[in-house]
Amino acid sequence: MLDATTIILTLIWGVAIGSIYVLLATGLNLIFGVMKLVNFAHGQLLMIGAYIGFTVWSIFGVNAYLAIFFAMASVAIIGILVERFSFRRVLGEEKLNEIFVSLGLILLFDNVAVLLWGEKSKRIISPFENMSVLIGELSISYDWLIAMAIVVVMLISLIFLIKKTKIGLAMRATSQRQEASMLMGINVERIYILTFAIGAAMAGAAGVLFGIIFPFNPYIGALPTIKAFAIIILGGLGSIPGAIIGGLLYGIAEQSAVIFLGGIWRNAIAFTVLIIVLIFRPKGLFGEKGE
């Protein structure tokens, strides 16, 4: 029953599904890398992004993929407000307070979404709905392919931003030595806002892609957060390549568990892989050694 084609197709789907998680995980990891903050409400930003994309698409008739830009801009602004009015006030004191803030934000965002958009599932329909390509045994919809391409483009732009621009340099400096960068005249607060905005914008983009590929309702944020968090732990906190490899590995582990052990094991296996990796590499695959 378990023929080679099924296994290969499953691996390909593992990569495809993993790449959607990567976008969220990278944003989360960027924020962690610079601010040492884990935002558990990151999935809620994805959810809000999906709803903003939905609103722009359904009311103004904007193309589903162009809606990504609106979602990114709006979620970036929301991200700035969140950073300014909640996280900044508890930053660097007690890690558990930061988680607590995230939990408060989750309640806030979920219920604002219920009040504004209702509780029923929505979908964003792309112009390529109902179109797939057949590559050998593999049938894949245009929307998945476009989503993967967008993820790749966004990751390349992000890496370019970090490696080649002044802002990126300042972000890297802040992530390594906060006090030193302040002495060097870097406005750390501005870098924080910028980082959070970029991370949020990526979540917003992921939200629209999510909304094109899956139906969504106000409560969908929780699961992607957990997966993204697992991925950055797997890959190594603060490491962008770690988030990418971690995301793909997570997707593959989850999908292979389905065919080798049965679907019910998918989450458990993904976390077992995570725990095993941490036993051998306590800082994740690409995590930095030592303090």
Binding site: W13, E129, L223
Partner: protein, 463 residues
């Protein structure tokens, strides 16, 4: 003992005394309203549908003068008390129902969602002798775990059994159970789909229909699928089960399961899940995996959400139903015409099936209280037990709303379910259903609207 400690204790006693005085101040006046508790999960989309239907029923009844209680010689309005079970977590559900029963002192409970939460929270109603018309838990155990139903087949000493016969008599089940869903789907495949395949593809009559199933791994999924298998085996239906795939309830990506199912070449795929997941499976199966088959989902997917999430991917696919709110107007039941129109007027959305059960249950409650002529809970229970009204929004096997007192179906109704085929409507960007099977329904006559056809892209299994 030092002085400060003494002072502290004095403060405590003063506070307690104050609280006690405040507690004993309000005394119980004569009832000004009939309190009906709605047990609904507001953090699950279906909760708001139950709320809308309940609100509509209550407003209608109150606008018409309320419920006449002969022992008080007056009509009382209904006061809706919400027992919010949030995401149907058993702890929250128990606390919510305890609050409704003990603090708000409801006269009756309606609703419930999720078998797990209901099996936990109904105990509060059982112990406090509050009539509970359960409209949203599919496990038959909610009325059959007591002695009257021989414990619903639970073995001796099983922990779900409840020995309190008196308490169990307050439980009523106005809802389809896993057995109801399963029977319709199994017989649809055997009696409608297999003959069509045989004639279309010249299959041998001895070739069984190749059925694959995807079910969510919880009490609901396991219950539906277990019962379907039982019908296939016990009734010797010509169905071969070629794949069974279960998955955690929070799954969003089903490609691996569907790929594995495709490798088994099924004739049809039975999807046992709720609205969003079912729609996702239809979609990923066709667009991502190329599993071009006939998909059928369970009756509880008859909600606006399902159609919205499905989009074009439902075209020519199937849905089991007991309340075809999209297959009209005009509808097969006269009452549905007004209900669906009113609901759309007020809430600007099409009603779902969870709300329909809830709406009917409020009228059952009204009828029972009026016949009982009192708010005494045991009298109301006796009246509910002898309910004999014409069917309203849900078709039943007898055409009447009545609760069985037989051991095998204790305090259940006998709802009738049927199968719809969905057709894409470009104007609205969603599919709309037509009833395809069976021909007729009890007390209604013909319900079939069109013939079942195989989808254009349909690929059957091997001969």
């Amino acid at each position: 003992m030092n002085n400060k400690l003494l002072a502290g204790i004095v403060v405590v006693i003063v506070v307690i005394a104050a609280v006690a005085v405040w507690q004993f101040l309000p005394s119980a006046p004569a009832p000004e309203s009939i309190k009906i508790g709605l047990v609904a999960p507001y953090q699950i989309p279906v909760g708001q549908d139950m709320d809308r239907a309940a609100r509509m029923a209550v407003d209608e009844i109150n606008d018409a003068g309320g419920i006449y209680v002969s022992s008080l010689g007056t009509s009382l309005p209904i006061e809706l008390v919400i027992a919010d079970t949030e995401n149907a977590n058993p702890e929250v559900a128990v606390t919510a129902v305890t609050r409704a029963v003990i603090q708000d002192q409801v006269d009756l409970l309606i609703g419930g969602f999720s078998s797990g939460a209901t099996l936990a929270d109904q105990v509060v109603a059982i112990e406090n002798r509050v009539p509970f018309i359960i409209t949203g838990a599919s496990s038959h155990l909610v009325t059959r775990r007591g002695p009257q139903a021989n414990y619903g087949g639970l073995p001796e000493g099983h922990a779900l059994r409840i020995d309190d016969a008196e308490g169990m008599s307050y439980m009523f089940h106005y809802c389809t159970t896993t057995a109801h869903y399963s029977r319709t789907v199994a017989y649809f495949f055997a009696e409608a789909m297999k003959p069509l395949l045989d004639s279309e593809y010249e299959f041998d009559a001895s070739r069984p229909l190749r059925l694959a199933v995807m079910y969510r791994d919880d009490a609901y999924g396991q219950g539906v699928w277990g019962d379907t298998k039982r019908f296939v085996e016990d009734d010797n239906l010509p169905i071969e089960i070629v794949a069974e795939k279960n998955y955690p309830i929070d799954t969003q990506t089903f490609q691996a399961e569907l790929t594995a199912i495709k490798a088994t070449n099924p004739d049809a795929v039975y999807v046992v899940d709720f609205t969003t997941n079912s729609a996702t499976i239809y979609r990923q199966g066709q667009s991502d995996v190329g599993l071009n088959s006939v998909y059928i989902a369970v009756e509880c997917c008859e909600e606006p959400e399902f159609y919205a999430a499905l989009g074009i991917w439902g075209d020519n696919q199937l849905l089991e139903s007991k309340f075809a709110s999209y297959a009209g107007p005009p509808f097969y039941l006269e009452m549905m015409n007004t209900y669906v129109a009113d609901y759309q007027d007020i809430y600007n959305t099409v009603p779902g099936m969870m709300g329909a059960d809830t709406y009917d249950a409020f009228y059952i409650a009204k009828d029972a209280i009026e016949r009982a002529g009192t708010l005494d809970k045991s009298a109301v229970r006796d009246a509910i037990e002898t309910t004999n009204m014409d069917q309203m929004l849900i078709i039943t096997e007898s055409g009447k709303m009545e609760f069985s007192t037989e051991a095998e179906t204790y305090h259940e109704i006998a709802p009738f379910t049927f199968v719809e085929q969905l057709f894409y409507d470009e104007q609205i960007g969603e599919t709309r259903p037509l009833v395809i099977w069976p021909e007729t329904a009890p007390g209604v006559g013909t319900i079939k609207q069109t013939d079942f056809i195989l989808p254009d892209n349909y690929e059957p299994g091997p001969p």
